[in-house]
Subunit: 328 residues, 2 copies
Amino acid sequence: MAIRIGIMGYGNIGKGIETALADYPDMELAVVFTRRNPADVKIHTSGVPVVSAGEAEKWKDKVDVLVLAGGSATDLPEQTPAYASLFNVIDTFDTHAHISEHFAKVDEVAKNHGKTAMISVGWDPGLFSLARLFGHVILPDGKDYTFWGRGVSQGHSDAIRRVPGVKDGKQYTCPVESALEAVRNGENPVLTTRDMHTRECYVVAEKGADRGTIENTIKTMPNYFADYDTTVHFISEEELKEKHSGLAHGGFVFRSGRTGVHKEHDHVMEYRLKLDSNPEFTTHVVLAYARALYRFAKEGKKGCFTVFDVPPAYLSSLSGEELRAHLL
Amino acid sequence: MAIRIGIMGYGNIGKGIETALADYPDMELAVVFTRRNPADVKIHTSGVPVVSAGEAEKWKDKVDVLVLAGGSATDLPEQTPAYASLFNVIDTFDTHAHISEHFAKVDEVAKNHGKTAMISVGWDPGLFSLARLFGHVILPDGKDYTFWGRGVSQGHSDAIRRVPGVKDGKQYTCPVESALEAVRNGENPVLTTRDMHTRECYVVAEKGADRGTIENTIKTMPNYFADYDTTVHFISEEELKEKHSGLAHGGFVFRSGRTGVHKEHDHVMEYRLKLDSNPEFTTHVVLAYARALYRFAKEGKKGCFTVFDVPPAYLSSLSGEELRAHLL
């Protein structure tokens, strides 16, 4: 029987999960929950009900894994612990600074209700976290570097849009090519924030707004832009929609370290992702881990887990024997 | 108490393990076993005994994990199953075609004797296998590509040295730059053997040997060279020793795949290693997995495992809480 997947929230991540399921034949979409009026939510999959989030409890025996597809700022901190009392849950919580707190809450609820949960699944946190962990354990005498981009940062785009006189805007985080090369060459450079990334802003100004003031306000904004080389491009609303609606992203995790009696040998481990669609790739990662989560649940594991806890074989539908024969 | 590591065989891998231990403070070298006369084997670590392999059984309660540091051709197929009756064992068995068979033998012995074993640990098989597995499960609709090099291939160097008139030789496997770029750009190229790698041979000819004949014999050798663009450079014995004694290696694993309702989004996952010393890097991987193996043994897991079975958290000496706080 296929693993029955539920989706809570039908935004980018929810839609991505629905689409991704076509590539995971051992799973099927059972239900989509929404906080909107279900009648207003049209999904792609025929025959699958869209149900009000308030009715979720009625589905607790008809869903094997519930994917919480909301945002990390306000949705997931509430939803993941709440639904861990009813379902095995998985989320993409990505506020690094609050992961420990989120984990503790979800773990407690899941343990109390005999459920299995997994948080912070995706590529960062997620695959990049694994790359960092492997770097640490294999080259303990080393340094790591994480670069992001080129891709849209939601938080920085929001910050631009809060500037007076700005109608709309998008911000790209871009790795600095020369810094990437220095790291890739094993030079172990000491890099400041400014050395690693630049920030490119595409801004639609309101009619009559002073562009010089907007540009200055953005470039000097503390935390967000002041520590970076930032460029601001004013463009039309049409151009923003046409050229900057994409969801491409990616990045690099490097570990650079030394081995040998006299530490005379340098090694560089590089993990790179180049993604046309950040939410679609993320949902593929989530479904692979949903498979593992389902197996954890079947084995009776309770509580909260992360990518660090999952034996890679659990991600695949192949048997251990097949994996060893074809992929090892 | 530190994890007590034993080493069977004091070649490149054995020496690498000894050196690497300096970076793993939770482990210590307990003993080195050798098939040579122990009096002839001088190791770096003071106070650690070198013992005849025939005496290994006496050490079975004084070693937590025995690293089998022999070759895959003839040593490991015998040694790993044999010593799995006495010790928790780990090896770097890298003959891909015989992994299933090797696994089955080791698994049976380890289970029968209540021991824990791990085979084929290193970077390929090992880290590259993990990159392939992650590629498969995250982008099921995709292709993968493994490139090796630039680095010395032992098997191909041996093949050169068997050619009549050849005194000594080294062979480098080199990835083809244009093929790497095409894969990295998501072009999903169809690549023949010749398209992916070239082979560079550095040959010391015997006095009076015909260089044309040697070059032709190498370039037309089936399986080893005939399917590749091969270059042959004749050099002096001194130059071979001076410039081609290094053990650098590395490679790339790519997964290139598509997502989306109409499969309109391309993604590229790239895992790259650039290693100054193949055996030293390999032994670092082995020690990280020896730590996991020790934990498996402590938990009472019996039988044989591979990198696919190990939760990444088991590789680190940090607690789950620390890992989530600092690396997730």
